[in-house]
Symmetry: C2
Subunit: 332 residues, 2 copies
Amino acid sequence: MPELRKDPILGRWIIIAKERSKRPTDFIIEDYPTKGGFCPLCPGNEKTTPDEVLVYGREPGMPPNSSSWQLRVVPNKYPALVIEGELDKQAEGLYDRMNGIGAHEVIIETPEHEEHFTYLPHEQMILTFRAYRDRIRDLARDDRFRYVMVFKNYGRAAGASLEHSHSQLIALPVLPRMVSSELDGSLSYYRYKDRCIFCDIIRQEIQQDIRLVCGNELFVTVTPFAPRTPFEMWILPRQHSSSYIEQDDRTMAALTDIFSESLRRLDACIPNVPYNFVLHTQPLRSQPLEHYHWHFEIVPKLTSIAGFEWGSGFYINPMPPEDACRYLREAL
Amino acid sequence: MPELRKDPILGRWIIIAKERSKRPTDFIIEDYPTKGGFCPLCPGNEKTTPDEVLVYGREPGMPPNSSSWQLRVVPNKYPALVIEGELDKQAEGLYDRMNGIGAHEVIIETPEHEEHFTYLPHEQMILTFRAYRDRIRDLARDDRFRYVMVFKNYGRAAGASLEHSHSQLIALPVLPRMVSSELDGSLSYYRYKDRCIFCDIIRQEIQQDIRLVCGNELFVTVTPFAPRTPFEMWILPRQHSSSYIEQDDRTMAALTDIFSESLRRLDACIPNVPYNFVLHTQPLRSQPLEHYHWHFEIVPKLTSIAGFEWGSGFYINPMPPEDACRYLREAL
C-alpha cells in the first residue's frame, strides 16, 4: 500500500507510491503504459481499465463498461493512493506517516483518440467540467477524504503519459500544504480588509485592464501579477463563491466557453504547448467561505524547476504577465 | 531591470527577468549560450565572461582574468537579478513589487572542460566549498541582501545549460519562502522540545540505521524520511551549527570527502543522473541559531512536476528512502 509521509521541518507531505515502480531504475510515473498503438482509453478497450465510476452518454440499455459513451471516469490502474482501508496514522520516532488511503481517478474527456481538449466542441468539453463537479460531490460523502485535487497534464513534458485526452483527480486524507497556504493567505487578507482578496484582484484587473485576457458574463481570465511561468493564466468566476461543486449548469456552460477561448489563445501563441491546469476549490464538507474564491490555474510548461527554485520557492519567469496578456489578446 | 513580484495570496516571490528572453517564444533560461564547441568557462576565454570576483590558484604575477587558475567566480552574464541600484519597493494597488537588485554569480569549479564534479580530485573539489563560503562572506557585507542561495544544476534535465562543471549563487533582497518555512518549522520544534530538530534527526537516523547512507567524523549523509524524489540525499554536519560561513578548513575537507562519496554512490546507482543540490544555511548577518542546522540537499531529477504537484505541494515518489539507502550503500 502507498504511504503518506510528512517532512518534520516543513510539514510537506510526500506520497511514497512504491507500487508504481517495479524496478529500482524505473521512475517514470505512468497513468497507463502505452504499448505500441494500443490505447486503454479508447472505445472498445473498456475492459482494460478498472470499472467506470461515472459515465455520460451511454446509450440506454447498454451495460456498464460497454463501448458507447461520451465521457468516462475510471479509477487509475496505477493509483498513487488506494481506496480500500481505514486511515491509520503512526509515528516513527519524530516522524509521521499515514497509510496511503485516497482515490485516484482518470477522466476520459472524449471517446475520440485524436481530439485535443482545447478544440473539443462545447457540448463535449462541458461534460469534463460537469464530471469534475459530480465526482467531487460523490467523493465528499467519504469522510476519510479532506480534499479532491483535480488537474490535467497535457503533453509529455507536462507529465502526461497517454495521448488520449484525459484529466485526473486525487482525493486526499489530508489538506495539501498549497491549499492551506492559499486558505491562510486569503483569510488573513479577509481579516484585515473584510473583503475576499480574489474579488479585489478581479476588480483591480478589470480596472487596470493590462492583465485581463478575456471575459464573459460570468468569468474573467487574467495573467496573474506574479506568474510562475510565461503565459500562466487564472480563470476566475466574477461572482464570489468558494465552492466549485455548488455551480449550476449555466455556470458550467460559461466556464466551458472561457476555458475553450483561453486555451485557444494560448495555443495560438505557442502551438501545442504542454501545460498543467488545476482546480482550486474549498475543502470537502466546508461551509461556504467568505474569504476564498474557487478558480482554475493554467501553468504552461515553458521553464524548468532547478536548484534555485528547489531551494528558494522562488520562480524565475522571463516574461512579464502584461506582455503575455498582450500576446494572448492579439492571438485570436 | 528585473523585477521581484509577490503573489498576494501565497506570499510567493517571482523574479520577472525580462532581459533573459529576447523574443516572445524564447523561454530557455541559459546561464550562458553554448555556441558550437565554444565554452565561455574554459581557460583562454576569460574575456567572454564578466570580470572575476574571486579566483583561486592564479600564478603569482599573472593579471586578473588571465588563463591560469584553479577556480573562478564570475558574475552571470545573463543575471536573474542585477547588482547595481538601490532597493525600491512599490505597490500597484493590492500588489507588491520591488526592483530586481541582487547578485547572480557562476562558480567555475575546474579549468578542465571534461571533468565531472563527482570525480574531481579532493584538492580541486574542496575549492568549490571554500568558494561558497568566501563569496557568501563577501556578499553578507552588502546590507541590501538578506540571503545567498547557493546551488548546482547538473545535467540539462536539471536546468544546466553549459557542460563545463559549475555551480551558481543568487544573493536576494528578501528571505525566500522555502528558507523562512524551514526556519519557522525548526523554531516551532525548538520551542516545544528545546532541541534542534536536525540534531534529533541525526540521532534518530544513526540509531535506526535504515536511511544512513554514509558518514565520516564530521558528517552524515541520509536519505530523508519524506524525500521528494528517488535517491534524494541530505548531507548534515554532526555537530550543531546554523551557519555555513563559520566553518573552518578541516570541516571543508570532511565535507568534500562525504560529498564526493555521496555523489559517487549516486552515480553508481544511476549513471550520470541529472541532479540539483542546494546549500541550506542561516540568513545573512543572523546571530547563531539554536534551532537551525546548515546542510546540503541533493535532489536527483527523476520525476516530473505536474498538475498534482503544482496544485498540492505534495510530491509523489515511487521509491521509499529505505530502499534508496540500501541501493546507495551497496553501490560502492
